[in-house]
Subunit: 196 residues, 3 copies
């Protein structure tokens, strides 16, 4: 219907629909953008962190446990999938070592001929653990406990268990066993996805 | 324009704009939230998986091919970008090896002095391949075929080809050649982004 | 208020508010859906790239700097978090090396007994740098400068600095120092998240 126009407010002969439409076109973008921002704040992908832990040495044990526990402390839904060498990190009898051979980026780089000598691997492992301990960083076993206590889901890769011959009782309590596909499905709903 | 008010219906002097505005204030949040939920459900980022394969050894050949083929089997749009050492994995003449030196997380850890002996690299490669084969996991070459057959796009890094002197005919058929920027652009529309 | 009705347009006795509501009920969903689509196109997660650089050797120095500078060149908001061995890459006195030992995927694979000889690490470093230089790829130090100049934020991990005893003046200017939690928080708003 035509809206009785008043000078300067609605063009003469404009219908109600046209007036509403014109107003919406002007107002809606900002209003919707603000609402979308608000809705995205609650996007579950922003609250979800999925990490794959594929390495089983001392040095590469820290990142997944530190990142996952930090994510949990921030209130995120965090899970780590332990696959390949990484399955070591879920062993009941946790023995992770670091080897300085071939890594010129070690805190104290060691020539390979020295790094190859018996005892150097153990020494490097002791030194690295000690360096972290002295600075108050929890041990890998402690970080693993922190993860479980703070609700991080730790998932052992089923295929790796089969291939490497792990039994469920070799691994700690409080964890899950699952497949790569299930984990990928969860990761597809997470913004933070990291392969360590 | 001001709308002539009737008692009990509209506050005195309410304009058309105010009426629209009041309705929007009431209805818009829910409408937008529902639309955002719907859009996020169908968000193509949830259906997209982008992996960078940067390593070229036997052990690190499995993760990109297994993850990408699992993603494709789930109906995701999956692509792997092979760069640096990872370009090895696209070679027509595929020869991937694993070396136990410096990796105390190997299934059967080997002291470095032993690992350095001639023949140990080949033996470790044979053992790892055999372990997987015995458990029914396809070989790397087979996994690569599975990826191509299931629609995973395999992309060779152009810069790596230039730097390492690879020619197109050194690489298998059915792949693409592209740059890091193009790949990043695709990854920016994917939830699952992994650097292996 | 009652809107003067015209046959076929507004039911008799309908108020302006009712007319506006009826129109909005019909029109708003489509308009909102279109606006939401537009707003999501500008989803900041699509424009954001967060990389963790955890390794400090020559070979693993290229990927974070190349990817981050490529992302910045595409107009993305890019940041790299340097942690663990990766902190080396922010040293004022940048000395990154590559070691061929234990890597059968090297461009020119070297038996471990040869790789362990004194001078081989330096030779391999020279060869790899030279290979890149000859193809016009900037050096790691140059790539780092490109990153800073193009607005990539480079962030040193505070905990790593503490544990490894780095002082602020050991690191280059133009960088930030921060924690893993703060970085994770940013990464939770990024589609591209990579752990190198």
């Amino acid at each position: 219907m035509a809206v009785p126009d008043r000078a300067g407010e609605v063009p003469a002969g404009r219908t109600l629909e046209e007036a509403v439409e014109a107003y919406l076109r002007k107002r809606l973008p900002d209003l919707v953008a603000a609402e979308v921002r608000k809705a995205l704040e609650g996007d579950p992908a922003r609250q979800t962190c999925r990490i794959i832990a594929s390495k089983g040495t001392l040095d590469w044990a820290y990142p997944p446990f530190i990142l996952a526990s930090a994510a949990a402390a921030m209130g995120m839904d965090a899970a780590v999938f332990f696959t390949f060498y990484g399955l070591n990190l879920l062993k009941r009898d946790l023995r992770v070592q670091v080897d300085p051979i071939g890594n010129p980026a070690m805190p104290i780089p060691v020539p390979n001929l020295v790094a190859a000598l018996p005892g150097v691997r153990s020494a490097a492992t002791w030194m690295m653990s000690d360096m972290f301990r002295k600075k108050g960083v929890p041990s890998v076993a402690e970080l693993r406990d922190v993860c479980i206590e703070s609700g991080v889901r730790l998932i052992a890769c089923q295929m790796t268990m089969d291939v490497l011959g792990f039994k469920r009782e070799d691994l700690i309590d409080g964890i899950e066993v699952g497949g790569a596909a299930a984990f990928l499905n969860e990761a597809s709903r997470a913004h933070v996805t990291l392969f360590v």
